[in-house]
């Protein structure tokens, strides 16, 4: 079978052993790669007895069958682990160049186990795999490490953690190519615990393609679609993702000051239009991407990639800050320290509300743009209040007596869409397997942008169908792996055909979406095995009980209960949200789940 290299690299840092073994091709057919393969491998490798920050937790870096084939945006890869922030299964994915390079080095996945005694980095080149001393790199920031290790976009790529990962911040990201991130849920802390500072890769060969002619046709058609769609040909390159700021604000779904309001008076000042007008230097793109949504921006102090919409929101509206330069600098600092910008900004916003309510004694107050940088520094090094911030908003708010002020689901901070103004988005957050997340089937397209057609954002009945379909599609895309932005112009039917052409195995559109459903259900089973229950599929009480006081979403809370009940039924789960045996059987998960249950119990 083409598409997959057929090899998994397995490194145990505790005794510095390096192994290579074959990828089980049946596993590949069922779970594809990336997020799906990661979930399947983690199911076996990390059971409930293993704490996320124990050296026994593993990091699984995985590419997919499309990675590095040259199909549009086939640059992506993912990391899977048990999250130190949420305790759920976690996968985070990233673009750039590293994933493509790793695949070209000849592997589908890299499993990292154990803990090195001293800081190390791993180097993977055509000459072999070595584990090197990283004493001189420990403590260094992301830009410096990336440069020192010889980053060269098309030849040699560096993935690393910053000080936040070394200091075990639960929102530490893993950064690749110096600017992209595997951000959410704290994978950087798992890497820090392993004393692993960086992984450098140099590849050689592109993976094989079975049906070249078919593949070329799909490339041709996909290019046409990406060029024709005003979203991928104009909107994203011209204004980047932050251009939705004004729109989300207008509809009354822009969470403001820790979700106390849904419209921000400073939205225009921090919008994509303002970013483009005042700070944009140029666009950039990941490997093999004709879209180029990435912004390089510059203030008087810094120049770097971003900020994206969610980041601008997290340090902007969420913290009541309308100073775009300060936001760009906060984003830059997070990239240098290796931090997830959404959780970092949202946790600072939570601390601001705690302070204003007199529950916390700090200088963090809404609107204090000058406090962003010091708070981020403190968080990354766990200094003073930063030690609390680094544990995320849920632990922070719980410690100071008001857990309901953490705007998170399962402990993962919610992104930039208020579920009271977008009902389906609320269901998405509540059911997402890694905690509140917008990349698991974003309802922005259907509820706001009208992609492919508009569904009223206040409609409740039938919403579960859309959420489920998009969750399944997102899981499939994350397993292939391509960038979700292509999906704004190119339908999943193309991805299924690309997969068929590359691998030589027939996958219909239905098969591909079903693979996504399989991945979703396995992740669900993983979380259930960890002890999560129906009661964790919820939203902060503010969103369920405090109707919005103003704006176009005035009077609304999120009507989660009826949507969730419909969701469980439509997924083929029981009332407690447990996949039925019939469902597991239909998805060919029965054996995996049942046999592993006993292995884990016997451990």
């Amino acid at each position: 079978m083409n598409g997959w290299t057929g090899k998994i690299l397995d490194i145990d840092l505790s005794d510095a052993t390096v192994k290579t073994y074959e990828l089980d091709m049946e596993m590949a057919r069922l779970f594809l790669g990336g997020r799906g393969l990661g979930a399947r491998l983690l199911w076996d490798a990390v059971g409930p007895a293993i704490e996320p920050l124990s050296p026994d937790n593993v990091l699984i870096f995985a590419t997919g069958p499309l990675t590095a084939t040259g199909y549009q945006t086939s640059n992506r890869f993912s990391v899977t682990t048990k999250s130190p922030l949420t305790g759920t299964i976690l996968d985070a994915n990233s673009g750039g160049f590293w994933g493509m390079q790793f695949k070209k080095a000849g592997y589908d996945a890299l499993v990292v186990r154990g803990r090195a005694e001293r800081p190390v980095y791993v180097e993977i080149t055509p000459n072999g795999v070595t584990i090197e001393d990283a004493k001189h790199l420990w403590g260094a920031r992301v830009g410096a490490v990336t440069e020192q290790l010889g980053q060269n976009d098309n030849r040699r790529n560096v993935l690393c953690i910053g000080p936040a990962g070394e200091n075990l911040s639960r929102m530490a990201a893993i950064m690749n190519d110096g600017r992209r991130s595997l951000a959410r849920g704290g994978p950087g802390a798992v890497m820090g615990r392993k004393n692993l500072k960086a992984i450098v890769v140099e590849g050689k060969e592109r993976p094989g393609i079975q049906d070249h002619e078919g593949f070329r046709f799909l490339l041709y058609e996909s290019r046409k679609m990406l060029r024709t769609s005003p979203l991928t040909s104009q909107a994203l390159p011209e204004f980047g993702t932050a251009v939705v700021m004004n729109l989300i604000n207008h509809i009354g779904a822009l969470p403001t000051r820790n979700f106390q309001q849904s419209q921000f008076e400073g939205a225009e000042a921090i919008s994509g239009e303002a970013l483009t007008e005042k700070y944009l230097v140029k666009n950039a793109s990941c490997w093999a991407c004709p879209i180029g949504c990435t912004r390089i921006s510059r203030t008087q102090k810094v120049e770097g990639e971003g900020p994206e919409y969610e980041t601008t929101w997290a340090f902007g509206a969420q913290c009541g800050v309308d100073d775009l330069a300060a936001i760009i600098e906060a984003n830059h600092l997070c990239n240098e320290l290796g931090l997830d910008t959404i959780s970092t900004g949202s946790t600072i916003g939570c601390a601001m509300e705690l302070t204003e309510r007199g529950l916390l004694d700090s200088d963090l107050r809404f609107g204090r743009a000058d406090m962003l940088a010091p708070a981020i520094e403190a968080l990354a090094y766990r200094r003073d209040l930063g030690d609390d911030l680094a544990d995320g908003s849920l632990r922070l708010a719980t410690k100071y007596g008001a857990p309901e002020l953490s705007m998170s689901v399962k402990g993962l901070e919610m992104p930039a869409y208020d579920p009271r103004g977008m009902q389906g988005q609320g269901l998405l957050y509540a059911t997402s397997n890694r905690g509140a997340c917008h990349m698991r089937g974003n309802m922005l397209g259907l509820e706001v942008l009208g992609l492919p057609k508009r569904i009223d954002r206040f409609q409740v009945q039938g919403k579960s169908s859309y959420v489920i379909l998009h969750q399944n599609i997102a899981a499939a895309i994350d397993s292939l792996v391509v960038c979700k932005f292509t999906h704004m112009a190119v339908g999943e039917e193309y991805f299924a055909r690309v997969l068929s052409a590359v691998s030589g195995v027939e996958f219909s559109t239905g098969d591909l979406v079903r693979a996504g459903e399989r991945v979703w259900n396995l992740e669900r089973m993983y979380n259930l095995r960890e002890g999560f229950t129906r009661s964790d599929d919820t939203l902060p009480s503010r969103l369920l009980r405090e109707p919005l006081a103003d704006g176009p979403s005035k009077g609304w809370v999120n009507e989660l209960e009826p949507m969730l009940a419909e969701y469980y039924r439509a997924r083929g789960w029981d009332r407690q949200g447990v996949p039925t045996q019939d469902k597991l059987k239909e998805l060919e998960l029965e054996e995996i789940v049942n046999s592993q249950q006993s292995t884990v119990n016997s451990q």
Partner: protein, 81 residues
């Protein structure tokens, strides 16, 4: 007079992003040709009146009132990949 604000690339076509609109419904608005096609907003163009999409109101016949805020967006997309 309702107040209209244009966003994104649409700003290139006007002198100021914000304008007073001297019309009773969107049907009378001068912007029509640029923004509409067969009585519907052009694909991916969004027109909001006080935060609600025209599609869920009375389309182009939605009555505009004094204090109405009309927001018009060109094709845009978002979400962090």
């Amino acid at each position: 007079m309702a107040r209209v604000t244009l966003y994104g690339g649409l700003r290139r076509h006007v002198s100021a992003p914000m304008q007073q609109l001297d019309s009773v419904t969107m049907r009378d608005a001068e912007l029509q040709a640029a923004l509409f096609e067969n009585d519907r907003p052009r694909p991916h163009v969004r027109v909001l009146v006080n935060g609600r999409n025209l599609e869920w109101m009375r389309g182009l016949d939605t009555p505009l009132e004094q204090d109405h805020q009309v927001a018009i967006f060109p094709p845009i997309a978002g979400g962090t990949p």
